[in-house]
């Protein structure tokens, strides 16, 4: 598909930096350019064709020992200089009451380039061809007259960033990102059920158009349509306590909410208390807290090429590498940038990230993955006398300390005497983070491993929505409270 044309942004980053160098005691410049194409078809007809091109610069300026930020989309010399002056004024105004001081060590003088995978550029398919594929997907989702609504959507994003500092950092990164959403709505009288491919926003990967295997997508659309009908005719999920087998497309949410957010060091420092909340994890828990069962191995991994939040460097120029956060169930390390590491005196990772050119970076989880174990999916099912299998998230909620969660899924089947049996609808489960992770009793092997993500991790003041990736095998938890809909 042809990338949308626009007037070129005439800016030489190095020259811009050198011209601003005298404006502050230290200067950082982050240029971001991102083009997202949102293509959506509903019931076989165009629903949304939108292209968003975002470009601008965030200036970091240090004055009186305090760092402040100013964002502008005016990339002329005047525009950048004006933004630098605004950042300096903000730094001076807040220097007497700064939460933490600035040192150049918080912005490593690293030089480098990184490019995510892309075998087939987004121009390898015309808009007419892509639209035809989405129309065909709608047709495959409609497996019956009882499918009353079908939708197919793809978001193609190309992202470039260039970060430079007066202390010598110079980093360029480029990413191609694809999100997919295919959904069937089934209706029978008052009963309405929806089934999608892995949940509405879970199919998020890096790569070019090679990511989109349409033959496989079409087959999965037919399956989603059939499963929507199965849900229509199913009984409600029972209300009781039983073993819970979660698919990777639900594990993504379980890891995200009950492991990722509580381990963010800026939350532990209290930065998020006014909005998303604090954390049950305390600084003294690192190296001591048994977070879950010995089968629980979770890493911060920005190195898996196709995963949604893989990158080479974070937004302060820290080189990104894989680190275990939890090993054999023991909490080892938090999700904290160099700033948070310095403030808290704890080890962290390269996760200082911003949602765009107009936001300052904060601690974000990026890719958070659960290592495969050694159980096959069949072995896990066979081990369960009375349980339930759930997949594809549809509801999420957890408290501000990240303890008491309640999640709902699109699709579930009971497990009885070691076999998958009846489909049940409106499945939900709830629990408390630490006891829940201690109940992890089997972990699927590499064959049951799935890579997913979401573009919508919200956090920060001012608010930021950012991309994260989560990969996991199927996992089996014992004795979980489950329940259905109604009332």
């Amino acid at each position: 598909m042809n990338a949308p044309q626009a007037a070129p942004t005439v800016v030489d980053p190095l020259s811009a930096l050198s011209r601003l160098a005298g404006e502050a005691d230290w200067i950082g410049l982050r240029f971001v350019e991102e083009t997202s194409q949102h293509r959506a078809v509903r019931n076989g007809r165009p629903e949304r064709n939108q292209v968003h091109r975002s470009h601008g610069a965030m200036i970091e300026a240090v004055a009186d020992g305090q760092l402040a930020y100013a964002a502008t989309s005016d990339l002329s010399e005047t525009g950048l200089r004006d933004a630098a002056c605004r950042a300096v004024r903000l730094a001076r105004a807040s220097a007497r009451h700064a939460a933490a001081g600035f040192s150049e060590g918080l912005r490593p003088a690293v030089r480098g380039e990184f490019a995510g995978p892309c075998e087939q550029g987004f121009d390898a398919l015309s808009l007419a061809e892509l639209t035809a594929k989405l129309v065909a997907a709608c047709a495959r989702l409609r497996v019956s007259d009882r499918i009353v609504e079908t939708s197919a959507a793809i978001v193609l994003t190309e992202h470039l960033s260039h970060y430079l500092t007066s202390s010598g950092a110079d980093i360029e990164q480029r990413f191609h990102l694809i999100s997919q959403n295919f959904m069937a709505t089934a209706r029978n009288g008052p009963e309405i059920q929806r089934r999608s491919l892995n949940g509405p926003v879970a199919r998020c990967l890096q790569g070019g158009l090679e990511v989109l295997d349409f033959e496989r997508i079409f087959e999965e659309c037919e399956r989603a349509g059939r499963e929507a009908l199965e849900l229509l005719d199913a009984d409600d999920c029972p209300d009781d306590t039983r073993d819970l087998l979660l698919a990777p497309d639900q594990m993504l949410l379980q890891i995200h909410e009950s492991v990722g957010h509580p381990l963010e060091l800026d939350r532990i420092l209290g930065d998020e208390r006014n909005y998303a909340g604090w954390s049950f994890v305390k600084p003294e828990d690192f190296g001591r807290l048994q977070y879950g069962s010995p089968l629980m191995n979770i890493s911060f991994d920005p190195t898996l090429p196709s995963e949604f939040a893989s990158y080479g460097f974070d937004d302060c120029g820290n080189r990104a590498d894989r680190q275990y956060l939890i090993r054999n169930g023991l909490l080892l390390r938090g999700l904290g940038s160099l700033e948070s590491q310095a403030r808290l005196g704890l080890p962290g990772v390269a996760n200082f990230r911003s949602a765009g050119w107009n936001r300052a970076p904060i601690d974000r989880m990026a890719n958070l993955n659960l290592d495969p174990g050694d159980s096959t999916l069949d072995e896990m099912i066979a081990s369960v006398e009375r349980g339930i299998y759930m997949s594809a998230n549809r509801s999420w909620s957890i408290d501000d300390y990240r303890r008491k969660f309640q999640f709902g899924c699109e699709y579930a089947r009971l497990i009885e005497d070691g076999r998958l049996t009846r489909v049940v609808r409106n499945p939900n489960y709830r629990g408390v983070s630490i006891p829940f992770w201690h109940s992890l009793k089997m972990v699927g092997n590499r064959e049951s491993f799935g890579i997913f993500g979401t573009p919508f991790c919200g956090k920060g003041e001012p608010n930021q929505m950012i991309r994260v990736g989560h990969a996991s095998p199927h996992c089996l938890f014992s004795g979980v409270e489950i329940f259905g809909g109604g009332r």
């Binding site: 470009h55 305090q66 989309s73 525009g79 009451h97 808009l127 007419a128 309405i192 209290g270 909005y275």
Partner: protein, 454 residues
Amino acid sequence: MSFARDAHRLLERLSDGAFAALRPWEAASLSLAGEDQTYLRFNAGKIRQATGVRQLRLALDFRSQDRQVRFTTDLSGQETQDLCSLHAMLAQARSEAAALPPDPFATPLENHGQSEEWQEGESPATEGVVEQIATATADIDFAGLFATGLQVRGVRNSEGQSHWYSASGFFLDYSLFTVNSEGENKAVKGLLSGADWNGARLSAALDADRRLLAQLQYPSRALPPGEYRVYLAPAAVAHLVDLLSWGAVSYGAWKKGGSALRRWIEGEVPLSEKFSLRENFALGLGPRFNSCGEIAPMTVPIADRGKPKNLLIGARSAREYGVVSNGAESGPWSEEQLRSPEILPGNLPERDALKRLDSGLYIGNLHYLNWSDLQSARLTGMTRYACFLVEHGEIVAPIRDLRFDDSLYRIFGTELEALSDEARLFPATDTYEQRSLGGAKVPGMLLSGFRLTL
């Protein structure tokens, strides 16, 4: 010239240039959203991050022979450069429209008239605000976000329509923390907003908050799950209203099976006669026009004494389902959303709320709501901030936070015993991409039963 005046002139010049380049069978609309804001993020009474954001985002909505495409871009503010970008977008839009099949629900652009609203004021000096907040909160653990500056919205189209809105003002959204005798963190939430910052208002608000903090320092009570009589303070009710914008009162969402209130809309399940909900743009929290330039009525009754009156309808739903638009706006993740909702107050004097509650829970705030069963209007979430066990009309102890899971048919229906006689205004504090406009006005709600589950 001010940021708002410059932005207004830029939109005029860009639209004149773009519309002149249209072919006879083409139409276009340009909408502009921008801000010149200062954001100060506080933790422990100190500045965690200070950020200035100056941005202008232009959207081109292009129509050609039943095709519709939309492009958005960040403007530099330099007219020549931005006009060049706009012409490039127009060419791309033309090319894309030609590649698409017809869109039967693409609405023709219309002239919905002209309007201008200017609310310009001076932003307070950052240094003064920082000093006042730091001084006033020196003895308290304070976290929050202060935002101040100008916001602009404008829409012009090739049919001659032109609407403009700009406003300046601030909000301070904050939390105060303490530790009770059992070592648990407890907190109070506050929100100040208005056209002009006044440090004395903060001091007065903090004095009231300190009294609540003292009550939160008592040993807290861990309550078992179950059904409780509760009083939801207005801030908690505002979170319930927020969730209604996830499709519940959207015409499009209802027709597609995505409205949580379908059974109420279709007359199967009633809501309480005490419950009246309306869109009320007289609250003055944002423009009445939407991104198409349609002007919403000043008020749109949605629930009138429990009866369904209207759903929110935007131009696209109107075209698809053959109904009349009431100027509603869809968001990026959800169809037609409330922009200025108001729940009408009742007759329970707020000062008597605890006495009328008698024994139960006072819930100061709610957190992280989501549907747990959309078709049953069932939602879940957590209690948060100042929440207390009340016995015989008196606060006995703060509670440990609890998860709830209950249905709107009970909350706004069978269990709704009374609404407070005063409603509170909650201007929007969302700042995704840009500072939001809008907000809600809601009273407190006394419920005979509320299901707490974990």
